[in-house]
Symmetry: C2
Subunit: 262 residues, 2 copies
Amino acid sequence: MSALATGSPRHRQIADALRRSIRSGVYERGTQLPSERELAEEFDVSRGTVRQALATLRAEGVVASRKGARGVVLAEPRAQSFSELLSFSAWARALGERPAGRVVELARRYADAADAHRLDVTEGDPVFFLVRVRMLGDAPVMIERTTFVESVGRLVASVDLEADSIYARLAERGVVFAHARHYVSALAADNEDAALLGVEPGTPLLRQVRRTTSPEGMPLEWADDRYLGDAVSFVLENSSGSRHAARVIGTIPEPRGDGALR
Amino acid sequence: MSALATGSPRHRQIADALRRSIRSGVYERGTQLPSERELAEEFDVSRGTVRQALATLRAEGVVASRKGARGVVLAEPRAQSFSELLSFSAWARALGERPAGRVVELARRYADAADAHRLDVTEGDPVFFLVRVRMLGDAPVMIERTTFVESVGRLVASVDLEADSIYARLAERGVVFAHARHYVSALAADNEDAALLGVEPGTPLLRQVRRTTSPEGMPLEWADDRYLGDAVSFVLENSSGSRHAARVIGTIPEPRGDGALR
DNA sequence: CAGTGGTCTAGACCACGTG
DNA sequence: ACGTGGTCTAGACCACTGA
């Protein structure tokens, strides 16, 4: 016990405490939580702070609540975070797997129309392009094709790409990835995909196109990741109030509009 | 103008107003928003209410904010909601498409192990099983295989499944779908999939397995939806603070644990 | 340095649900 | 009828950003 987050905000500490209570069976799946006023007294904070903590758990799909009734426990908390969705290395390590990567290509090149659109740069501006095959243990599970804006790419080029997590290294140098939008669809492996993953062309792949921005909203990278369909899946939570996820026609918005459809 | 949501909470009205302002170009992508205190004065509410509205936009990926600096506009707001992710009909209509569906099978049967696990019922309990092919215009785009708990399934059986949105009809009868967890992966069309969608076996499909619960956390249905990979994709937003989405090893959790992994 | 968002408090009223 | 969560107010202090 102890040594935990004395400096972190109170509402986060409370969310952590509630998560632990649920995981350890103090509050079981399907049962009701104490009222917000009771929790406020228990943690010696105002009700507003308790509500802030509960909002976090609600967004995680751990609890649900309605107007006149007490909150209920929906499910065990999942251990995941933003960095684990962004970084293959962080994710793999959190699962106890040994992440590995083989660099296929690292090049400085010039932005084409797609790069320009997704990174908010001008066509012809320099960007960095990186292709890696990522593995769990010895088995390849995905191909990662990432395009970085020049300032970030220069840092990437100085990292040990075979061993390290790019995002951990960049974070050390003050490059913060704060927000991402992901497009998820399915496609058949083309010849290059197939060769890199060691499968037949035509094998179904899960495609994730991602665009990541800094806290200021500045695009930092975009990536086209392709997973073996039976190796990995994505999980998302989705409640009546929230709009974190959506479904769109077609695959990936290419030409104009940043937001697809239209 | 006017006629809009006089009864809805103030923070929602403010979020709507800000979304409109961004869409209409009052606040452009990449620029700063007014300070929270200024917005509070403009809308004549307290700062807390403004922050509640901004939290919504943040979760949607429309704006971002950090400690000492003003919020910035990340992207144009997307028109989507929970019901549009859940209901094929609502989604298609919102896009101006004409949704259609062909019922392949509707049967009352008895829960197998997977049903029992996902719906919190006992193996052998009655459930309702529905298979539909969904189309946009004349083209089939997905197969929907849904299993309902008995109480909901009985209502489903009384609905015009070819024309109506199940979820709209159920909502009218007081069955509220409040929370969903989705698992997204890729797989190859099997013979049945291929025949129903009119494609070759082996064609890549985007698979979404969903489990939906009531506001009280009671499971109402689970579904295995398979989309033509090039017809539809999913979009998700994901910020440093949030945990709405995650990546997991393997495809769909089958046996135990509700939360996959472990 | 002044201004900002992040956090927190201590109240209040309402619509809703359950007994 | 009562307790509940949802909403809202009017303050306050802090850590951080940016000129």
